[in-house]
Amino acid sequence: MTFRIRRITLTDFRSYAGLDLALDGRPVVLTGPNGAGKTNLLEALSMVSAGRGMRGAKMDELARQGAPDDPASGGWSVSAVLEDHYGEETRLGTGISAHSDKRITRIDGAPASGPTALLDYLRFVWLTPAQDRLFMEGASERRRFLDRMTMSHDPSHGRAAATYEKAMRQRTKLLENWPRVDETLLGVLETQMAEAGVAMAAARLDMARRLAAGARLIDEAVFPAAGVALDGRLEEQLQSQKAGEVEEAFEAKLRAMRPRDADAGRALVGPHRTDLLVTHKAKGQAARLCSTGEQKALLIGLVLANARSLQQEASDITAGAPLVLLLDEIAAHLDPDRRAALFDILEETGLQVFMTGTDPDLFAAWGTRAQSFTVRGGTVTEAG
Protein backbone atom coordinates (compact mmCIF):
# COMPACT_ATOMS: atom_id res chain seq x y z
CA MET A 1 0.00 0.00 0.00
CA THR A 2 1.52 3.31 -0.93
CA PHE A 3 0.38 6.53 0.60
CA ARG A 4 1.47 10.01 -0.26
CA ILE A 5 0.90 13.40 1.27
CA ARG A 6 -0.43 15.33 -1.70
CA ARG A 7 -1.15 18.68 -0.19
CA ILE A 8 -0.04 20.69 2.83
CA THR A 9 -1.90 23.75 4.08
CA LEU A 10 -0.55 26.00 6.83
CA THR A 11 -2.22 28.95 8.54
CA ASP A 12 -0.29 31.22 10.89
CA PHE A 13 2.19 28.46 11.66
CA ARG A 14 5.54 29.94 12.80
CA SER A 15 6.92 32.03 9.90
CA TYR A 16 4.06 31.10 7.54
CA ALA A 17 1.01 33.37 7.32
CA GLY A 18 -0.45 30.95 4.84
CA LEU A 19 0.83 28.20 2.59
CA ASP A 20 -0.88 25.83 0.21
CA LEU A 21 1.60 23.39 -1.26
CA ALA A 22 0.73 20.69 -3.80
CA LEU A 23 3.02 17.66 -4.02
CA ASP A 24 3.27 15.05 -6.76
CA GLY A 25 4.45 12.21 -4.52
CA ARG A 26 8.15 12.17 -5.41
CA PRO A 27 10.67 12.76 -2.62
CA VAL A 28 10.54 16.42 -1.60
CA VAL A 29 13.66 18.59 -1.47
CA LEU A 30 13.38 22.00 0.21
CA THR A 31 16.30 24.37 -0.18
CA GLY A 32 16.79 28.03 0.68
CA PRO A 33 18.75 30.41 2.88
CA ASN A 34 18.96 30.27 6.67
CA GLY A 35 15.74 31.30 8.34
CA ALA A 36 13.70 30.77 5.16
CA GLY A 37 11.23 28.40 6.81
CA LYS A 38 12.46 24.97 5.67
CA THR A 39 12.54 23.40 9.11
CA ASN A 40 9.26 25.12 10.02
CA LEU A 41 7.59 23.29 7.16
CA LEU A 42 8.90 19.88 8.27
CA GLU A 43 7.92 20.73 11.83
CA ALA A 44 4.41 21.64 10.66
CA LEU A 45 4.06 18.16 9.14
CA SER A 46 5.37 16.55 12.30
CA MET A 47 2.52 18.21 14.20
CA VAL A 48 0.01 16.15 12.20
CA SER A 49 0.55 13.43 14.77
CA ALA A 50 0.43 12.86 18.50
CA GLY A 51 2.95 14.78 20.56
CA ARG A 52 4.76 18.06 20.25
CA GLY A 53 6.42 17.58 16.90
CA MET A 54 10.04 17.26 15.85
CA ARG A 55 11.22 20.29 17.83
CA GLY A 56 9.29 19.31 20.95
CA ALA A 57 7.72 22.76 20.78
CA LYS A 58 5.55 24.41 23.37
CA MET A 59 2.10 24.81 21.87
CA ASP A 60 2.08 28.57 22.37
CA GLU A 61 5.26 29.22 20.40
CA LEU A 62 3.87 27.72 17.20
CA ALA A 63 1.40 30.49 16.41
CA ARG A 64 2.89 33.08 14.06
CA GLN A 65 3.95 36.26 15.77
CA GLY A 66 2.34 38.97 13.71
CA ALA A 67 3.46 42.54 13.15
CA PRO A 68 1.35 45.73 13.34
CA ASP A 69 1.01 45.82 9.55
CA ASP A 70 0.63 42.06 9.35
CA PRO A 71 -1.47 40.86 12.29
CA ALA A 72 -1.69 37.18 13.11
CA SER A 73 -4.79 35.36 14.40
CA GLY A 74 -3.10 34.00 17.52
CA GLY A 75 -4.00 30.43 16.57
CA TRP A 76 -2.40 28.07 14.07
CA SER A 77 -3.36 25.16 11.92
CA VAL A 78 -1.76 22.55 9.72
CA SER A 79 -3.55 20.21 7.41
CA ALA A 80 -2.34 17.48 5.13
CA VAL A 81 -4.17 15.57 2.43
CA LEU A 82 -3.16 11.95 2.31
CA GLU A 83 -3.81 9.90 -0.81
CA ASP A 84 -3.75 6.11 -1.04
CA HIS A 85 -2.95 4.23 -4.23
CA TYR A 86 -6.60 4.08 -5.22
CA GLY A 87 -6.63 7.86 -5.23
CA GLU A 88 -8.79 8.00 -2.09
CA GLU A 89 -8.04 11.10 -0.09
CA THR A 90 -8.09 11.71 3.66
CA ARG A 91 -7.69 15.18 5.08
CA LEU A 92 -5.91 15.37 8.42
CA GLY A 93 -5.81 18.62 10.36
CA THR A 94 -4.60 19.88 13.68
CA GLY A 95 -4.14 23.23 15.37
CA ILE A 96 -5.19 25.62 18.04
CA SER A 97 -7.82 28.26 17.56
CA ALA A 98 -7.13 31.83 18.59
CA HIS A 99 -9.29 31.97 21.68
CA SER A 100 -8.65 28.62 23.26
CA ASP A 101 -5.56 26.69 24.11
CA LYS A 102 -7.05 23.31 23.40
CA ARG A 103 -5.55 21.40 20.53
CA ILE A 104 -8.07 20.57 17.84
CA THR A 105 -7.75 17.53 15.61
CA ARG A 106 -9.88 16.85 12.57
CA ILE A 107 -10.08 13.88 10.27
CA ASP A 108 -11.96 14.53 7.04
CA GLY A 109 -13.53 17.59 8.62
CA ALA A 110 -14.92 15.75 11.64
CA PRO A 111 -13.49 16.40 15.09
CA ALA A 112 -11.33 13.54 16.37
CA SER A 113 -10.94 12.57 20.01
CA GLY A 114 -7.37 13.90 20.05
CA PRO A 115 -4.08 14.03 18.12
CA THR A 116 -3.44 10.38 18.98
CA ALA A 117 -6.17 9.48 16.49
CA LEU A 118 -3.86 10.72 13.73
CA LEU A 119 -1.47 7.84 14.44
CA ASP A 120 -3.91 5.54 12.68
CA TYR A 121 -3.33 7.48 9.47
CA LEU A 122 0.21 8.71 9.48
CA ARG A 123 3.43 8.28 11.38
CA PHE A 124 6.61 10.29 11.10
CA VAL A 125 10.22 9.33 11.58
CA TRP A 126 12.49 12.34 11.74
CA LEU A 127 16.09 13.34 11.98
CA THR A 128 17.12 16.84 13.02
CA PRO A 129 20.48 18.62 13.25
CA ALA A 130 19.92 18.78 17.02
CA GLN A 131 20.62 15.04 16.99
CA ASP A 132 23.98 15.44 15.25
CA ARG A 133 25.81 15.48 18.57
CA LEU A 134 24.03 12.40 19.87
CA PHE A 135 27.20 10.34 20.23
CA MET A 136 29.15 13.15 21.87
CA GLU A 137 26.60 13.92 24.55
CA GLY A 138 25.80 12.18 27.81
CA ALA A 139 23.83 8.96 27.99
CA SER A 140 20.51 10.68 28.66
CA GLU A 141 20.11 11.99 25.10
CA ARG A 142 20.86 8.57 23.63
CA ARG A 143 18.48 6.93 26.09
CA ARG A 144 15.73 9.33 25.03
CA PHE A 145 16.51 8.59 21.39
CA LEU A 146 16.28 4.84 22.08
CA ASP A 147 13.10 5.19 24.12
CA ARG A 148 11.38 7.26 21.46
CA MET A 149 12.16 4.65 18.84
CA THR A 150 11.04 1.90 21.21
CA MET A 151 7.74 3.67 21.78
CA SER A 152 7.12 3.95 18.06
CA HIS A 153 7.03 0.15 17.95
CA ASP A 154 5.60 -0.53 21.35
CA PRO A 155 3.33 2.15 22.83
CA SER A 156 3.23 0.34 26.18
CA HIS A 157 6.91 1.23 26.60
CA GLY A 158 5.87 4.82 27.25
CA ARG A 159 3.51 3.75 29.99
CA ALA A 160 6.11 1.52 31.61
CA ALA A 161 8.63 4.36 31.50
CA ALA A 162 6.14 6.79 33.04
CA THR A 163 5.23 4.34 35.80
CA TYR A 164 8.88 3.67 36.52
CA GLU A 165 9.72 7.37 36.62
CA LYS A 166 6.84 8.21 38.92
CA ALA A 167 7.52 5.35 41.34
CA MET A 168 11.21 6.27 41.38
CA ARG A 169 10.48 9.91 42.21
CA GLN A 170 8.05 8.91 44.97
CA ARG A 171 10.68 6.56 46.41
CA THR A 172 13.37 9.24 46.29
CA LYS A 173 11.07 11.66 48.09
CA LEU A 174 10.26 9.06 50.71
CA LEU A 175 13.96 8.32 51.25
CA GLU A 176 14.54 11.93 52.30
CA ASN A 177 13.46 10.86 55.79
CA TRP A 178 15.48 7.65 55.78
CA PRO A 179 15.58 5.64 57.97
CA ARG A 180 12.31 6.87 59.46
CA VAL A 181 10.12 5.82 56.55
CA ASP A 182 7.06 3.72 55.82
CA GLU A 183 8.86 0.56 54.73
CA THR A 184 5.72 -1.06 53.39
CA LEU A 185 5.26 1.85 51.01
CA LEU A 186 8.92 1.79 50.08
CA GLY A 187 8.55 -1.90 49.24
CA VAL A 188 5.47 -1.23 47.12
CA LEU A 189 7.26 1.49 45.17
CA GLU A 190 10.27 -0.76 44.62
CA THR A 191 8.03 -3.56 43.35
CA GLN A 192 6.50 -1.12 40.88
CA MET A 193 9.93 0.06 39.80
CA ALA A 194 11.07 -3.52 39.30
CA GLU A 195 8.02 -4.49 37.25
CA ALA A 196 8.03 -1.41 35.08
CA GLY A 197 11.83 -1.28 34.86
CA VAL A 198 12.14 -4.84 33.58
CA ALA A 199 9.33 -4.24 31.08
CA MET A 200 11.21 -1.17 29.85
CA ALA A 201 14.47 -3.05 29.56
CA ALA A 202 12.80 -5.89 27.65
CA ALA A 203 11.19 -3.47 25.19
CA ARG A 204 14.54 -1.75 24.65
CA LEU A 205 16.22 -5.08 23.98
CA ASP A 206 13.59 -5.86 21.35
CA MET A 207 14.30 -2.46 19.85
CA ALA A 208 18.04 -3.12 19.74
CA ARG A 209 17.33 -6.39 17.92
CA ARG A 210 15.15 -4.57 15.42
CA LEU A 211 17.89 -2.05 14.78
CA ALA A 212 20.41 -4.82 14.24
CA ALA A 213 18.06 -6.54 11.81
CA GLY A 214 17.31 -3.27 10.02
CA ALA A 215 21.01 -2.46 9.74
CA ARG A 216 21.59 -5.71 7.85
CA LEU A 217 19.38 -4.40 5.06
CA ILE A 218 21.82 -1.58 4.39
CA ASP A 219 24.73 -2.33 2.08
CA GLU A 220 27.79 -1.69 4.24
CA ALA A 221 29.95 -1.11 1.21
CA VAL A 222 28.21 2.16 0.45
CA PHE A 223 26.87 3.23 3.80
CA PRO A 224 28.40 2.46 7.21
CA ALA A 225 26.34 0.09 9.33
CA ALA A 226 25.93 0.71 13.03
CA GLY A 227 26.52 -1.91 15.69
CA VAL A 228 24.09 -1.49 18.56
CA ALA A 229 24.38 -2.61 22.18
CA LEU A 230 22.72 -1.59 25.42
CA ASP A 231 24.76 -0.71 28.46
CA GLY A 232 22.46 -1.45 31.36
CA ARG A 233 22.35 -4.11 34.03
CA LEU A 234 18.71 -5.14 33.50
CA GLU A 235 19.10 -5.29 29.72
CA GLU A 236 22.18 -7.44 30.17
CA GLN A 237 20.56 -9.81 32.66
CA LEU A 238 17.53 -10.24 30.42
CA GLN A 239 19.73 -11.81 27.76
CA SER A 240 20.35 -14.86 29.93
CA GLN A 241 17.73 -14.87 32.68
CA LYS A 242 13.96 -15.04 32.94
CA ALA A 243 12.15 -11.72 33.37
CA GLY A 244 10.77 -12.83 36.74
CA GLU A 245 14.25 -13.52 38.07
CA VAL A 246 15.58 -10.21 36.83
CA GLU A 247 12.64 -8.47 38.45
CA GLU A 248 13.28 -10.11 41.81
CA ALA A 249 16.98 -9.39 41.65
CA PHE A 250 16.36 -5.72 40.82
CA GLU A 251 13.85 -5.36 43.62
CA ALA A 252 16.35 -6.85 46.06
CA LYS A 253 19.02 -4.52 44.70
CA LEU A 254 16.80 -1.49 45.25
CA ARG A 255 16.10 -2.61 48.79
CA ALA A 256 19.82 -3.00 49.45
CA MET A 257 20.54 0.39 47.92
CA ARG A 258 18.14 2.30 50.19
CA PRO A 259 20.78 3.88 52.45
CA ARG A 260 23.04 4.84 49.56
CA ASP A 261 20.18 6.13 47.43
CA ALA A 262 19.00 8.14 50.43
CA ASP A 263 22.47 9.67 50.73
CA ALA A 264 22.69 10.41 47.04
CA GLY A 265 19.16 11.81 46.84
CA ARG A 266 18.41 9.66 43.78
CA ALA A 267 18.32 6.06 42.62
CA LEU A 268 21.86 5.05 41.72
CA VAL A 269 20.95 1.93 39.77
CA GLY A 270 18.21 1.13 37.30
CA PRO A 271 17.12 1.38 33.69
CA HIS A 272 16.95 5.17 33.98
CA ARG A 273 20.73 5.01 33.56
CA THR A 274 20.96 2.72 30.55
CA ASP A 275 23.07 3.88 27.62
CA LEU A 276 22.83 3.07 23.93
CA LEU A 277 26.25 2.05 22.65
CA VAL A 278 26.77 2.51 18.94
CA THR A 279 29.80 1.38 17.00
CA HIS A 280 30.96 1.79 13.42
CA LYS A 281 30.74 -1.90 12.55
CA ALA A 282 33.22 -2.01 9.69
CA LYS A 283 35.85 -0.12 11.67
CA GLY A 284 35.02 -1.66 15.02
CA GLN A 285 35.18 1.79 16.55
CA ALA A 286 32.91 3.55 19.04
CA ALA A 287 30.70 6.13 17.32
CA ARG A 288 31.98 8.77 19.72
CA LEU A 289 35.44 8.42 18.20
CA CYS A 290 34.24 8.59 14.59
CA SER A 291 34.49 11.69 12.39
CA THR A 292 31.61 14.15 12.15
CA GLY A 293 30.52 12.79 8.77
CA GLU A 294 30.83 9.19 9.92
CA GLN A 295 28.72 9.97 12.97
CA LYS A 296 26.07 11.57 10.81
CA ALA A 297 26.05 8.51 8.55
CA LEU A 298 25.72 6.17 11.54
CA LEU A 299 22.84 8.21 12.88
CA ILE A 300 21.08 8.19 9.52
CA GLY A 301 21.70 4.44 9.40
CA LEU A 302 19.94 3.97 12.75
CA VAL A 303 16.99 6.11 11.76
CA LEU A 304 16.65 4.21 8.50
CA ALA A 305 16.96 0.86 10.26
CA ASN A 306 14.15 1.93 12.57
CA ALA A 307 12.01 3.08 9.64
CA ARG A 308 12.62 -0.23 7.85
CA SER A 309 11.59 -2.29 10.84
CA LEU A 310 8.50 -0.15 11.44
CA GLN A 311 7.61 -0.73 7.83
CA GLN A 312 8.09 -4.47 8.14
CA GLU A 313 5.97 -5.00 11.22
CA ALA A 314 2.98 -5.53 9.00
CA SER A 315 1.10 -7.68 11.49
CA ASP A 316 1.67 -5.35 14.41
CA ILE A 317 -1.15 -3.19 15.74
CA THR A 318 0.59 0.03 14.87
CA ALA A 319 1.14 -1.20 11.32
CA GLY A 320 -0.85 0.07 8.44
CA ALA A 321 -0.33 3.71 9.19
CA PRO A 322 2.06 4.92 6.49
CA LEU A 323 5.46 6.24 7.46
CA VAL A 324 6.87 9.53 6.29
CA LEU A 325 10.50 10.51 6.74
CA LEU A 326 11.37 14.08 7.73
CA LEU A 327 15.09 14.59 7.27
CA ASP A 328 16.22 18.08 8.22
CA GLU A 329 19.71 19.15 7.01
CA ILE A 330 20.17 15.64 5.74
CA ALA A 331 23.02 16.30 3.32
CA ALA A 332 25.21 18.22 5.76
CA HIS A 333 28.55 16.56 6.58
CA LEU A 334 28.13 13.77 3.99
CA ASP A 335 30.60 13.38 1.13
CA PRO A 336 29.19 13.07 -2.43
CA ASP A 337 29.42 9.25 -2.53
CA ARG A 338 27.61 8.83 0.78
CA ARG A 339 24.97 11.33 -0.30
CA ALA A 340 24.31 9.50 -3.54
CA ALA A 341 24.20 6.17 -1.70
CA LEU A 342 21.79 7.61 0.86
CA PHE A 343 19.45 8.91 -1.82
CA ASP A 344 19.37 5.46 -3.43
CA ILE A 345 18.59 3.83 -0.10
CA LEU A 346 15.84 6.36 0.57
CA GLU A 347 14.31 5.76 -2.85
CA GLU A 348 14.45 2.01 -2.30
CA THR A 349 12.39 2.25 0.89
CA GLY A 350 9.47 3.49 -1.17
CA LEU A 351 8.57 5.84 1.69
CA GLN A 352 7.64 9.45 1.18
CA VAL A 353 10.56 11.57 2.27
CA PHE A 354 11.03 15.29 2.93
CA MET A 355 14.57 16.68 2.93
CA THR A 356 16.00 20.12 3.58
CA GLY A 357 19.34 21.84 3.04
CA THR A 358 20.71 25.27 2.27
CA ASP A 359 22.39 24.32 -0.99
CA PRO A 360 20.45 22.83 -3.96
CA ASP A 361 23.69 21.35 -5.35
CA LEU A 362 23.83 18.91 -2.45
CA PHE A 363 20.71 17.26 -3.83
CA ALA A 364 21.83 17.17 -7.47
CA ALA A 365 22.16 13.37 -7.38
CA TRP A 366 18.38 13.07 -7.05
CA GLY A 367 17.94 14.68 -10.46
CA THR A 368 14.30 14.52 -11.54
CA ARG A 369 13.62 11.66 -9.13
CA ALA A 370 12.78 14.31 -6.55
CA GLN A 371 10.42 17.29 -6.53
CA SER A 372 12.46 20.34 -5.57
CA PHE A 373 11.25 23.57 -3.99
CA THR A 374 12.91 26.83 -3.12
CA VAL A 375 11.89 28.31 0.22
CA ARG A 376 12.34 32.03 0.61
CA GLY A 377 10.66 34.57 2.89
CA GLY A 378 7.66 32.44 3.73
CA THR A 379 6.91 31.33 0.19
CA VAL A 380 7.65 27.97 -1.35
CA THR A 381 8.06 27.71 -5.12
CA GLU A 382 8.81 24.70 -7.25
CA ALA A 383 12.32 24.88 -8.68
CA GLY A 384 13.37 24.28 -12.27
Binding site: T163, K166, A167, Q170, K173, T184, L185, G187, V188, Q192
Partner: protein, 201 residues
Amino acid sequence: MPRTPAGPELDRLISLLAKLPGLGPRSAKRAALHLLKKRDGLMAPLAVALKEAAEKVTACSICGNWDSSDPCQICADEDRETGVICVVQEVADLWALERSGAHKGKYHVLGGVISPLDGVGADDLNIASLAQRASAGGVSEIVLALSATVDGQTTAHYLVERLEGLTVDITRLSHGVPVGGELDYLDEGTLAAAMKSRHKA
Protein backbone atom coordinates in the same frame (compact mmCIF):
# COMPACT_ATOMS: atom_id res chain seq x y z
CA MET B 1 -3.13 42.19 38.15
CA PRO B 2 -4.98 45.41 39.06
CA ARG B 3 -7.54 45.03 41.81
CA THR B 4 -11.21 44.91 41.04
CA PRO B 5 -12.63 48.41 41.58
CA ALA B 6 -15.09 47.25 44.25
CA GLY B 7 -15.56 47.32 47.98
CA PRO B 8 -13.89 44.83 50.33
CA GLU B 9 -17.00 42.60 50.56
CA LEU B 10 -17.17 42.00 46.84
CA ASP B 11 -13.41 41.67 46.60
CA ARG B 12 -13.39 39.00 49.30
CA LEU B 13 -16.26 37.13 47.64
CA ILE B 14 -14.38 37.06 44.35
CA SER B 15 -11.14 35.90 45.89
CA LEU B 16 -12.95 33.05 47.65
CA LEU B 17 -14.88 32.04 44.56
CA ALA B 18 -11.61 31.96 42.64
CA LYS B 19 -10.44 29.16 44.94
CA LEU B 20 -13.19 26.84 43.73
CA PRO B 21 -11.97 24.07 41.44
CA GLY B 22 -12.33 25.00 37.79
CA LEU B 23 -13.05 28.66 38.53
CA GLY B 24 -9.96 30.93 38.38
CA PRO B 25 -10.08 34.76 38.83
CA ARG B 26 -11.95 35.61 35.63
CA SER B 27 -14.80 33.16 36.08
CA ALA B 28 -14.93 34.11 39.76
CA LYS B 29 -15.69 37.72 38.81
CA ARG B 30 -18.37 36.58 36.40
CA ALA B 31 -19.88 34.31 39.05
CA ALA B 32 -19.88 37.11 41.66
CA LEU B 33 -21.60 39.53 39.27
CA HIS B 34 -24.12 36.87 38.35
CA LEU B 35 -24.88 36.23 42.03
CA LEU B 36 -25.44 39.93 42.68
CA LYS B 37 -27.79 40.16 39.77
CA LYS B 38 -29.79 37.19 41.14
CA ARG B 39 -29.61 38.36 44.72
CA ASP B 40 -32.96 37.03 45.91
CA GLY B 41 -33.30 34.03 43.65
CA LEU B 42 -29.78 32.67 44.00
CA MET B 43 -27.38 34.54 46.23
CA ALA B 44 -29.40 34.57 49.43
CA PRO B 45 -30.53 30.91 49.21
CA LEU B 46 -26.95 29.95 48.30
CA ALA B 47 -25.65 31.69 51.41
CA VAL B 48 -28.15 29.79 53.53
CA ALA B 49 -27.30 26.51 51.83
CA LEU B 50 -23.59 27.08 52.36
CA LYS B 51 -24.12 27.84 56.01
CA GLU B 52 -26.30 24.80 56.59
CA ALA B 53 -23.98 22.50 54.72
CA ALA B 54 -20.98 23.82 56.65
CA GLU B 55 -22.80 23.17 59.92
CA LYS B 56 -24.45 19.86 59.21
CA VAL B 57 -22.48 17.90 56.65
CA THR B 58 -19.70 15.84 58.18
CA ALA B 59 -17.54 12.92 57.15
CA CYS B 60 -19.16 9.62 58.14
CA SER B 61 -17.20 8.21 61.05
CA ILE B 62 -17.39 4.74 59.54
CA CYS B 63 -16.70 5.20 55.83
CA GLY B 64 -15.66 8.83 55.30
CA ASN B 65 -18.61 9.69 53.03
CA TRP B 66 -20.07 13.20 53.35
CA ASP B 67 -23.56 13.31 54.81
CA SER B 68 -25.67 15.24 57.29
CA SER B 69 -26.21 12.09 59.33
CA ASP B 70 -23.48 10.05 60.98
CA PRO B 71 -23.31 7.16 60.12
CA CYS B 72 -24.14 8.17 56.57
CA GLN B 73 -27.21 6.94 54.72
CA ILE B 74 -25.26 4.22 53.00
CA CYS B 75 -23.70 2.89 56.20
CA ALA B 76 -27.11 3.04 57.92
CA ASP B 77 -28.93 1.28 55.08
CA GLU B 78 -29.71 -2.22 56.33
CA ASP B 79 -30.64 -3.46 52.86
CA ARG B 80 -27.07 -3.14 51.64
CA GLU B 81 -24.63 -6.01 51.80
CA THR B 82 -22.31 -5.55 54.75
CA GLY B 83 -19.82 -8.16 53.58
CA VAL B 84 -18.44 -6.22 50.64
CA ILE B 85 -16.58 -2.91 51.08
CA CYS B 86 -15.66 -0.88 48.04
CA VAL B 87 -12.64 1.37 48.59
CA VAL B 88 -12.60 4.65 46.64
CA GLN B 89 -10.33 7.69 46.59
CA GLU B 90 -12.91 10.43 46.88
CA VAL B 91 -16.61 10.87 47.52
CA ALA B 92 -16.98 11.78 43.83
CA ASP B 93 -15.94 8.21 42.98
CA LEU B 94 -18.50 6.88 45.42
CA TRP B 95 -21.16 8.93 43.66
CA ALA B 96 -20.02 7.68 40.26
CA LEU B 97 -20.29 4.07 41.44
CA GLU B 98 -23.70 4.69 42.99
CA ARG B 99 -24.85 6.18 39.69
CA SER B 100 -23.77 3.01 37.91
CA GLY B 101 -25.70 0.90 40.41
CA ALA B 102 -22.98 -1.71 40.19
CA HIS B 103 -22.15 -1.94 43.88
CA LYS B 104 -24.67 -3.13 46.45
CA GLY B 105 -22.36 -3.17 49.47
CA LYS B 106 -20.70 -0.53 51.62
CA TYR B 107 -17.94 1.96 50.86
CA HIS B 108 -14.75 3.28 52.34
CA VAL B 109 -13.48 6.68 51.24
CA LEU B 110 -9.69 7.06 51.52
CA GLY B 111 -9.67 10.81 50.97
CA GLY B 112 -6.92 10.70 48.34
CA VAL B 113 -4.03 8.58 47.15
CA ILE B 114 -0.57 8.01 48.55
CA SER B 115 1.97 10.37 47.05
CA PRO B 116 5.12 11.25 48.99
CA LEU B 117 5.86 13.89 46.35
CA ASP B 118 2.70 15.71 47.41
CA GLY B 119 3.37 15.04 51.07
CA VAL B 120 0.57 12.47 51.31
CA GLY B 121 1.57 9.36 53.23
CA ALA B 122 -0.52 6.41 54.36
CA ASP B 123 -1.24 8.11 57.71
CA ASP B 124 -2.85 11.05 55.97
CA LEU B 125 -5.53 8.79 54.50
CA ASN B 126 -8.34 6.76 56.06
CA ILE B 127 -6.31 3.58 55.89
CA ALA B 128 -6.11 2.63 59.56
CA SER B 129 -9.91 2.75 59.83
CA LEU B 130 -10.18 0.53 56.75
CA ALA B 131 -7.87 -2.04 58.31
CA GLN B 132 -10.03 -1.92 61.42
CA ARG B 133 -13.26 -2.48 59.52
CA ALA B 134 -11.70 -5.28 57.53
CA SER B 135 -10.53 -7.15 60.60
CA ALA B 136 -13.67 -6.60 62.66
CA GLY B 137 -15.37 -9.65 61.13
CA GLY B 138 -18.35 -9.95 58.80
CA VAL B 139 -16.39 -8.59 55.85
CA SER B 140 -15.67 -11.11 53.12
CA GLU B 141 -14.47 -8.93 50.25
CA ILE B 142 -12.73 -5.60 49.78
CA VAL B 143 -12.96 -4.15 46.30
CA LEU B 144 -10.25 -1.63 45.46
CA ALA B 145 -11.89 0.82 43.07
CA LEU B 146 -8.94 3.17 42.71
CA SER B 147 -8.07 5.05 39.55
CA ALA B 148 -5.70 3.53 37.02
CA THR B 149 -3.15 6.32 37.53
CA VAL B 150 0.30 5.41 38.83
CA ASP B 151 -0.52 6.84 42.28
CA GLY B 152 -3.87 5.04 42.34
CA GLN B 153 -2.10 1.77 41.63
CA THR B 154 0.64 2.47 44.19
CA THR B 155 -2.10 2.97 46.75
CA ALA B 156 -3.85 -0.23 45.69
CA HIS B 157 -0.63 -2.23 46.07
CA TYR B 158 -0.04 -0.62 49.42
CA LEU B 159 -3.51 -1.59 50.65
CA VAL B 160 -2.94 -5.17 49.54
CA GLU B 161 0.22 -5.22 51.66
CA ARG B 162 -1.48 -3.65 54.65
CA LEU B 163 -4.48 -5.97 54.56
CA GLU B 164 -2.43 -9.08 54.05
CA GLY B 165 -3.11 -11.87 56.51
CA LEU B 166 -6.78 -10.98 56.98
CA THR B 167 -9.37 -13.51 55.87
CA VAL B 168 -10.92 -11.22 53.30
CA ASP B 169 -10.67 -11.42 49.53
CA ILE B 170 -9.10 -8.34 48.05
CA THR B 171 -10.22 -7.64 44.51
CA ARG B 172 -9.61 -4.85 42.03
CA LEU B 173 -11.39 -3.35 39.09
CA SER B 174 -9.65 -4.07 35.87
CA HIS B 175 -11.49 -4.33 32.62
CA GLY B 176 -12.50 -1.18 30.92
CA VAL B 177 -10.70 1.19 33.27
CA PRO B 178 -8.44 3.02 30.83
CA VAL B 179 -4.80 3.56 31.66
CA GLY B 180 -4.42 6.77 33.63
CA GLY B 181 -8.20 6.87 33.99
CA GLU B 182 -9.86 8.63 36.90
CA LEU B 183 -12.93 6.74 38.03
CA ASP B 184 -15.03 9.85 38.34
CA TYR B 185 -14.79 10.47 34.60
CA LEU B 186 -15.92 7.03 33.49
CA ASP B 187 -19.43 6.47 32.20
CA GLU B 188 -21.81 4.19 34.07
CA GLY B 189 -21.57 1.30 31.61
CA THR B 190 -17.79 1.18 31.83
CA LEU B 191 -17.91 1.35 35.61
CA ALA B 192 -20.50 -1.39 35.87
CA ALA B 193 -18.43 -3.60 33.55
CA ALA B 194 -15.29 -2.85 35.56
CA MET B 195 -17.10 -3.77 38.78
CA LYS B 196 -18.42 -7.01 37.32
CA SER B 197 -15.05 -8.13 35.99
CA ARG B 198 -13.13 -7.44 39.18
CA HIS B 199 -10.43 -9.92 39.98
CA LYS B 200 -8.24 -10.97 42.86
CA ALA B 201 -5.53 -8.45 43.65
